[in-house]
Structure formats: structure tokens, C-alpha cells
Symmetry: C2
Subunit: 333 residues, 2 copies
């Protein structure tokens, strides 16, 4: 590997001068500059990243921290983040937290060992000690899909509760009274969406029947399918289901189909997220759209803002959500 010293020697100048040329500093004769540039090009010289990041005390990379459930929603979010982070000149480094103490420790170690320039947290962590640490070392950060106002971190999110309420009310307005819920555990959004569902019922004077809610093991289609199957077994009156994520909804529809229940003729289903596969299911999934791409972009912009500005902007961006009507809901009565 060719180093800056090699270039210096070849050009008959010092390493400092080469560095000045490369970093576009002033005070170097244009004739010298050209000579150095030529040699750099000829030899294919590229600055060593480790050396640079050591002396500069930064790594030009943003960490994206995410609990290990690598689903379709996250895929879309990542694609957006990576794209815009790169536009800002940063590399993206993913950290998949695997929900164990040791994985959290490992994360903290990596956080210290690599001089990350910033972090995006996707989904809320169980253990707030990490946030305290980040706060303490004053590392640029933004939260994505949730907020924690007490830390003063910038955040981008939707109103989870209101969105779930919107989905549920959509069903109520179409005459549904016996509405099931399939949600998951461990993540705040799961609980918030459950709360939104309950609020919708309450707002319309509908009783809450615990027999109609399923707390699935995860948020993926398989969990949705299993959840729907047990819901069916309970033999409660049921005309519609709100699934807390589109993936759960897709699984639920499959379970209904397998059980000979027609969607939406017999049971209606609405999801939340609007991942891109949702417009390709049959029937098309009626759901609440979360602007995934824009949220990814905004997250990237906010960390980079903090970094370049040198201090937090403390900005919380709440994106609004809308119903997107497809074919999985019917109007009754």
C-alpha cells in the first residue's frame, strides 16, 4: 500500500505538503500542487482511514442501532438512511442488538472503541442506561420511531397511539363492533398501538373484550398467523381485526384464508405501517401509512445537522399518518 510518504518522496516534497494538497489547504504553489496530484493519481493513492480517524478523532461513520428484528419495515428505513447518510458523506454501520445483556455490553464496547460520529437509534431500548451514557459523552444522536423528551434528543416519529386509533376508528366507522387486536410485545410501539386501539373503542362507547386481543410473540407474518389462529379458536364474535403491524396483518390474513374465512367478506383486516409489500397482497391491505422513506431521510439529516452545527437542535419531528384504503375492509350494516 502506498502511503503519503511515498507520494512525498516521489514528488520531491514533504509529507506535510502532500497532506495540504489533498486537503485543499492554501499556501501551496500551484505547480507543486499539480505535480502531487498527478503522482497521487498515477499511484492510486488513497488516504489510510485508520490513520486519519486516529489523528482526527472521528470516523466519518454513523451507527444505526436496532434491536434484532430485521423486518421489512426496517429494510425500507435502512435503505433510506444509508442513502442519505452517504449523501452527507458518512458511512453507515449497523448494530444489531440481540436482546441480551452481553449484546448490550458488546455494543457499548464498540461504541467506545470506534469513534462514531453519531448514532441513530431505531426503536426504543428496554434499558435507558445507554441513553444516559450517550447523553453524558454528548454524542450526536437521533431517535427514530420514538422519542424521549427527557434527554433532549432530536427524534423523528409518528404518533403511534393516534395512528392505531385512526386504524381502529376506520373499522368502527364502517360498522364494525367486534374488533380484534393482534399486537406484539417488548417494543414500545406495540404497547402504544394497543393503547390507541383501546382509546378508539372507548371513544365510541364500545366495550373492551380482552378475549379479542392477542399479544403475539413477535411482529412478523408468522406471529400474525399464529395469533389469528388462536383468535379464531376462541370463537368470539368477530367482524374485524386491527393488526399492529402490516406484517402481522399479512399473517392474519393468511390464517383467515387457511381457515376458510373470507377477507373482507367475513372478517376485515387493517394494518399499520404500509410497508411496500402491502399493496401486493390479495386482497390489498388497508392500512395506515407511516412515511418510512421520509423518516429515514429526516433521521439522517438530523444527526448530520447536530454534527455540523456542533450542538443539538433538540428538534422532534412528528410525521402525520393517513389511512390508505385498499381491499381488506368491508362496510357492514
Amino acid at each position: 500500500m502506498v502511503s503519503i510518504k511515498d507520494i512525498a518522496r516521489l514528488a520531491g516534497v514533504s509529507a506535510s505538503t502532500v497532506s495540504r494538497v489533498l486537503n485543499e489547504r492554501e499556501y501551496v504553489r500551484s505547480e507543486v500542487r499539480q505535480r502531487v496530484l498527478d503522482i497521487v493519481k498515477e499511484r492510486g493513492y488513497v488516504p489510510n482511514h485508520a490513520a486519519r480517524s486516529m489523528v482526527l478523532q472521528r470516523s466519518f461513520t454513523i451507527g444505526v442501532v436496532i434491536p434484532y428484528l430485521f423486518n421489512m419495515f426496517q429494510r425500507q428505513l435502512f435503505a433510506a438512511m444509508e442513502f442519505f447518510l452517504e449523501q452527507h458523506g458518512y458511512k453507515t454501520q449497523f448494530f444489531f442488538l440481540r436482546w441480551s445483556e452481553s449484546s448490550e455490553q458488546a455494543f457499548l464496547r464498540r461504541l467506545k472503541s470506534e469513534a462514531l460520529d453519531g448514532i441513530i437509534f431505531v426503536h426504543e431500548l428496554d434499558n435507558p442506561s445507554i441513553y444516559h451514557y450517550i447523553k453524558e459523552i454528548n454524542l450526536p444522536v437521533t431517535l427514530c420511531t420514538f422519542e424521549r423528551t427527557e434527554f433532549g434528543f432530536p427524534a423523528v416519529h409518528i404518533d403511534e397511539e393516534a395512528s392505531a386509533k385512526l386504524a381502529t376508528e376506520y373499522l368502527i366507522q364502517r360498522g364494525h363492533r367486534d374488533i380484534g387486536l393482534i399486537t406484539g410485545e417488548h417494543f414500545t410501539f406495540g404497547y402504544q398501538r394497543e393503547k390507541g386501539y383501546k382509546k378508539a373503542l372507548a371513544a365510541h362507547g364500545l366495550p373492551y373484550n380482552p378475549e379479542l386481543t392477542i399479544r403475539a410473540a413477535s411482529y412478523n407474518p408468522e406471529a400474525g398467523r399464529a395469533g389469528m389462529l388462536t383468535l379464531i379458536k376462541r370463537k368470539q364474535p368477530l367482524s374485524a381485526v386491527f393488526a399492529a403491524t402490516d406484517e402481522l396483518a399479512i399473517g392474519a390474513i393468511k390464517a383467515l384464508y387457511e381457515s376458510g374465512v373470507r377477507v373482507p367478506a367475513d372478517v376485515s383486516v387493517v394494518g399499520l405501517d404500509d410497508i411496500d409489500i402491502s399493496s401486493f397482497t390479495t386482497p390489498g391491505l388497508t392500512t395506515v401509512r407511516q412515511p418510512i422513506f421520509e423518516m429515514g431521510k429526516k433521521s439522517a439529516d438530523l444527526v448530520c445537522d447536530w454534527i455540523s452545527r456542533g450542538h443539538t437542535t433538540d428538534k422532534v419531528e412528528q410525521f402525520s399518518t393517513i389511512i390508505v384504503e385498499r381491499e381488506s375492509v368491508r362496510t357492514i350494516g
Copy 2:
């Protein structure tokens, strides 16, 4: 940030000794070792990654290079790779190639600037110059989803052609004669799968009708939907479609459904990949299974093998594929 020197000072020893303790070298009194370890723990010291990687001339990270089509197949592949790479003690760094000359140059620059310990290439690149360069600098590498025997790189892949042939023959054996093809461009697997389709027709004495093949703009559901729509417009006799990827198939089914054509009653569809959403579509997608998880694992194992062994194993692992029967195909006649 606390450095090795701080620990040394605190423990009343030299930095060398601390380093020896941390790297589990011999020749350090157990009493001293314990003292150092205690202080390391107390201060939360973690070695600086940039410094280590500079002196060691390695980065403990594997690059995963992939053309920018971040689809569901790749999501599953990534999840597997990242998981096993971490088990081997490596970090994963993704490089999304965005199909421009400049993006390839940028990739090469990053390749040189970060001392990657190894690379996994997913999907074949248009431009073989990168492979030549890798070969030249003798960087541990493995190819995933394709092979290039002339370079002697280890590879994990399936027989694309045979798998497509298998899918097509499955339709032929069920009495289908007028079989459409929806594939995509730019990627070798797309062309190989097309070839497999043609071979199946030929092997069974069926004529190849170019009016029945669609070369879609991409490999995602949207492209599949658009492709199917134009195929329908051509008004050729058609009883089945082979879609080169499951995502294309999902889009095709949607288009059929929108056009009032029943699947599988009127037209049968088979895909290839068996991504995990395929068992959740309605009807369930009959497809050819590619062992995605195992392939991801194997790719990780092979690079790590090369690294630890110090020389290439030159091993090409061809995974076998099987039909997984679901509900999107009917038997006629």
C-alpha cells in the same frame, strides 16, 4: 476517553505490560495481571479501534458488496451473513453499489482506505476489473449467488439454470403448454434463469414463443405487476407463468388478480427463491427454494476460513434447490 497509557499509569506499569495483559500474552506476573484487569474494568477501558487497526494492518471487518437492489431476498441473506460474521468476530460493512462508474470508483477507494479483512460479493458485477484488482492484492473473498471459476475464488451458489428449468418443468409436468416468462435485466441470474426456462421448453419439445417472455425493468413486485399486465395485453394463449424471482411472481399474481384472472384456476404462477413472504401470499406461492440462510452462513464461513488459513480454499459450494409446492399452480388436462 481513557487510553492504555492511563491504565498503565494507574497500575504503575508500562503500556507494554498493559497491552500484554489485554492480549493475553505470557510473561506477566499474575499479580500484575490482576491489578491491570481490575483497573481496566473500573475505568471501562476499551482499546481504540483505529489505533489497533493501524498497527495491526487489519480492521476486523468484512465488506459485503452488493448492487443496489435491496430486496427481500437480500435482507434474509444479510441477516444470516451478519449473524455468522459476528460469531467469527468480524464486523460487517455493507457497500451498496449504485451502478455508476463513480460508485465503483468510490468503492475501490474505500476498499483501499479501509483495511478490510475480507469481502463477500453478492450478485455478479458487470465490470470484472474489480475482481482482477482483488485477485491482485490477494484479498480474501467469497462470491455469493454466483461463481467465476477463472479467478479461483471460493463461491456459494445454486445452479440458477437448473433451478429455473426445474420450475418450468414443474409446470410442464402439470399439463401446461403455454408458459410465460417474466424475468429482469442486468444481473446474470436473470439471464441464467431465462436460459433454464428455454431449456425446459426445448427438452419437452415445446416451441419458444418470444411473445410470452417479458424482460421487466427490475426484480421487484412492482416490476412483476407491470410485466404481467403487458403480458396480458398481448392476448397470447397463456396457462402459466414462470417468474424469475418470487418478488416478480408476487407482482404478477397481483396483476392477474386485478385483471380478474384467477390464480391458479385460470393461470398458474411459479416463482424462484422462496423468500419468506412467499408462504404468506394468497394463494401461497409455489416456488423453488434457494437455501438463503445456509448460503449466507456458508459465505461467512468461507471468507473467515480463507482469512484464518492464510490462503484460499478455492471451494465452490453449490446448494441444491427443491420445489416447494403451495397453491399457485393447478394441474390441467
